[in-house]
């Protein structure tokens, strides 16, 4: 009996191997492309999976990387900056008082399910968020437009269709970054029919007007998108297929690219940039910085309630060395709480240069001639704005030791870390921020206004003049005047020094040298419509 089974097994094995020989000639290899540079498959590998594919219900960048291919926004960001350009709306007008926006939509656009894109669809989407009053599901709507229908602080009052191709937004008060907010991926327009059809499961079946049609999602593995043959922008997209793949480890992801298993990756370790540069089959892409990594002081806690102490520590940190050693040159030293890519950046500010004598003098004046002991909280995980929090903390620790300030490095798991910071438990901490909509408000108000204490103002910095100016800027629709206000705010913040801004990092991506038409966008999300690969 036993023998029969073994013989049967051997026969099956031999057969299957023989059959393999016959069928393995099937083409399963490289990304093909045709003569005009179009076609083919692009495999984009990244470090984490999307959470949901309904852009309105998520806040994480990994989700938007996928949804931005499928669904589109009324207005869009320019290819390489956060300047607003037409999207599904080909033009728009703002009323004099800044409270009414009228959008003229592209005609003849269809969702992937064949239903028409029109003013009603836009109104349906906005009402879905606006009337839900559901801050937990539509978190970005709440944070960018301050509230839902009927709420006192809400920016939007009403969204209505004027005719089939015209939509009008009425606001309760002018909001300067209104268009920039609309360009964000979470406010992309989905097919109303699909939302109704899938209900709770819409998060797994996105249907939009975008260049690629959603095909399949294997969680924690791949998202497959196929060319939208009826895309409204003629001649686009150029690729036949996009596969978005998860490979968690940065080095392993680069290995997969070198081997040719994937075509384009994000999250290249700064230490491995040279490996890409020296490989003629690869090219490096640098994302323009839209982030800030910083050292924050809790200004409510002694001794950081004293401005001179904060300034003294600002003079003691050797930023250039930190950028050189721990960002390996993939960042620029920061002097303001927002990156220079954003309108309103104050370049005339003179940074606190490394000056130990000045630092010691200021400490003496503040009443700490011999320095002090303090906990320094360091982030446990690499973030785009801080690839190695622990090492940077050690560098800061040794810088501080030179002026007699003994810092003890404290760290804990990431979720716990954020939680405790929000409670104001850390006296001195490292953190950062990646911008959402490329507007100064999204840095200065979100991170340093007194309204943001308890959420993202971890320094608990409170300055009435800053507050007044920031509120004024929020409703100022004259771009030049608004930028002047932000410049002024940066001056005050620079003098108050609630933070030591450390660096604006430039996230590194790598791809095959045959990739063309790919521009990493500062927001972290970009369309693959123009991309080609041979």
């Amino acid at each position: 009996m036993k023998k029969t089974w073994s013989i049967a097994f051997v026969i099956i094995l031999t057969l299957s191997l023989a059959l393999t020989g016959c069928s393995s000639s099937k083409k399963n290899g490289a990304s093909g492309g045709n003569d005009d540079g179009g076609g083919g498959t692009l495999i984009y590998a990244r470090g984490g999976d999307s959470v949901k594919l309904d852009p309105a219900t998520v806040t994480d960048g990994e989700s938007f990387i996928a949804t931005a291919q499928v669904t589109e926004t009324l207005v869009d960001y320019d290819k390489e900056s956060t300047k607003v350009v037409p999207g599904l709306a080909k033009s728009w007008e703002m009323s004099k008082d800044g409270k009414t926006y009228t959008f003229h939509l592209e005609k003849g656009v269809k969702f992937h399910d064949g239903t028409p894109f029109n003013a009603d669809a836009v109104v349906y989407n906005f009402n879905r968020w606006f009337k839900s009053k559901d801050a937990k599901t539509f978190a970005y709507f709440k944070s960018q437009f301050s509230g839902f229908e009927g709420e006192k602080e809400a920016v939007i009052k009403e969204v209505k269709a004027i005719d089939d191709n015209t939509v009008q937004f009425t606001l309760n008060r002018p909001q300067a970054p209104f268009l920039k907010n609309l360009a964000m991926s979470p406010f992309a327009i989905s097919s109303p029919a699909a939302i109704k059809k899938y209900g709770d499961k819409y998060i797994e079946h996105p249907v939009g007007t975008g260049p690629f049609v959603f095909k399949e999602w294997k969680r924690n593995d791949t998202i497959t998108l196929e060319k939208n043959k009826d895309y409204w922008k003629k001649g686009l997209p150029k690729l036949d297929k996009v596969i978005i793949k998860v490979i968690k480890d940065n080095s392993a992801r680069l290995n997969a690219l070198v081997k040719g298993e994937v075509d384009l990756i994000d999250g290249v370790n700064p230490s491995e940039v040279d490996k890409v540069k020296s490989n003629s089959k690869l090219q490096l892409f640098e994302r323009p910085p839209m982030n800030i990594g910083y050292l924050g002081f809790n200004v409510e806690k002694k001794p950081f309630n004293n401005k001179k102490v904060r300034q003294a520590l600002s003079y003691a940190i050797n930023k250039k060395e930190i950028v050189k050693n721990f960002y390996e040159g993939t960042a620029e030293p920061a002097k303001n709480p927002m990156p220079p890519t954003i309108a309103g950046y104050n370049d005339s500010i003179q940074d606190y240069d490394l000056d130990l004598d000045k630092a010691k003098k200021l400490l003496k004046e503040a009443g700490y001639p011999n320095g002090f002991k303090m906990d320094l909280w360091a982030m446990p995980v690499p973030r785009p704005y801080m690839p190695n929090g622990q090492k940077v903390a050690e560098a800061i620790q040794s810088d501080f030791a030179k002026i007699g300030v003994k810092a003890k490095i404290v760290t804990m798991e990431w979720a716990t870390y954020l939680d405790k910071l929000q409670d104001g438990q850390a006296p001195m901490f490292m953190l950062g921020w990646t911008g959402d909509n490329g507007d100064a408000d999204n840095f200065l108000y979100a991170l340093l206004d007194k309204d943001s204490i308890g959420s993202n103002n971890y320094s608990r910095y409170k300055n009435e003049e800053v507050h007044k100016l920031l509120l004024q800027a929020q409703t100022e629709t004259d771009e030049a005047k608004r930028n002047d206000i932000y410049k002024k705010v940066q001056e005050i913040i620079h003098d108050d020094a609630p933070w030591v801004p450390l660096a604006h990092s430039k996230p590194q991506l790598a791809g095959k040298s045959t990739i063309k038409g790919f521009f990493p966008h500062p927001t972290g999300t970009q369309s693959f419509a123009d991309v080609t690969i041979e």
Partner: protein, 334 residues
């Protein structure tokens, strides 16, 4: 035998209950609000409060625990906080990926480990013995992530023999039926894909199998040495039996009991402990599923994920105990 099995299965209930209690208390003891993690740094206070309420996190902890147990008794593993999908549906693809990888890793570990142990014992103090045991020592102490990256570099990039990442060719993906890709490809008659899946299994299989392999080799060797010094082996040799038969038939059978214990324990450990291998090789397995859940404070996934792994672990141990009786007729369960 049957009554023993049933008795063992019944005693599983308090074991699993205790485990659920410990896991539940531990994850609720760590600070970090899942609502905050889900909604991100941008979230407003109202949103966090609303989501906490929605998730039942505002209830007292013992009520949350009772709710969870009630749910389990209804055969419901709960729903992921983050993805909103039922865990019982969501978990299988991950579990299948890990099971497939673990089986391959264990086959590699057992075939090489047991044989290396036997030969080392057979030719005790020979150069083979020394080298094999030195390698075993290195194997036990090898950091898996380093080994994995080195394997990738050597076999995938330098020699271009094997793929670096994933379970299948991304450009020609396997259509999942059971999510055990070896089985799925055979069911679909896609032998080209079957070979592709095997190729994808080799490197992570070796990386994952290295530590169990080393442990198995060492245990087999010491167990074999003990048996080979016993009287009946001397008698067997005296009868004029060939060395091969003495070693592989007479000695091995008696030396196997501790080896099987180790194999059982190691298999259980692989299921939950494959996270490093999974990370390096882009393997969508249960280790990374739970790890991600911990990072996101996805309580139901952590609880139910660990519960599933623990249940498999204790079941494997039960099977091992039953195997003893099959191998050694002197062992009887009543």
């Amino acid at each position: 035998m049957l009554t023993y099995t049933i008795r063992r299965l019944v005693t599983l209930i308090p074991v699993l209950f205790g485990m659920i209690l410990i896991v539940f208390s531990l994850i609720h003891a760590i600070p970090g609000n899942p609502a905050k993690v889900i909604l991100g740094q941008q979230a407003t206070k109202e949103a966090v409060a609303a989501l906490s309420k929605d998730l039942g996190l505002d209830k007292p902890i013992h009520i949350q625990f009772i709710d969870y147990i009630k749910q389990l008794l209804h055969g419901d593993l709960g729903e992921s906080i983050r993805t909103k999908a039922p865990i019982s549906e969501e978990i299988w693809p991950y579990l299948a990926a890990t099971i497939e990888l673990s089986i391959v890793a264990m086959i590699i570990a057992i075939v090489i480990g047991v044989n290396a142990g036997i030969i080392s014992a057979w030719f005790q103090n020979s150069w083979f013995d020394y080298i094999a045991m030195l390698l075993a020592l290195i194997g036990v102490s090898m950091p898996i992530f380093w080994l994995g990256l080195m394997e990738q570099y050597t076999f995938a990039i330098h020699w271009d023999l094997l793929p670096t990442t994933g379970r299948d060719n991304i450009r020609d993906p396997v259509e999942a039926i059971t999510h055990l890709y070896l089985l799925d490809t055979l069911l679909q008659g896609r032998f080209d894909q079957f070979i592709e899946v095997i190729k994808h299994l080799i490197l992570p299989g070796f990386a994952l199998g290295t530590i169990p392999m080393a442990i198995i080799a060492r245990i087999t060797r010491s167990s074999m040495l003990e048996v080979m010094r016993s009287d009946y082996i001397r008698t067997a040799r005296a009868k004029g039996l060939g060395s091969f038969w003495v070693v592989y038939k007479h000695s091995l059978k008696n030396a196997l009991i501790p080896v099987i214990t180790v194999i059982g324990l190691q298999t259980g450990l692989l299921l939950g402990g494959a996270i490093l291998t999974e990370t390096i090789f882009g393997w969508p397995g249960i280790g990374s599923y739970i790890y991600e859940a911990i990072q996101n404070r996805d309580y139901p996934v952590i609880q139910s994920g660990i519960l599933v792994i623990a249940s498999i672990f204790v079941l494997i141990n039960l099977v091992v105990d039953l195997l003893y009786a099959a191998i050694d007729p002197r062992i009887k369960y009543r």
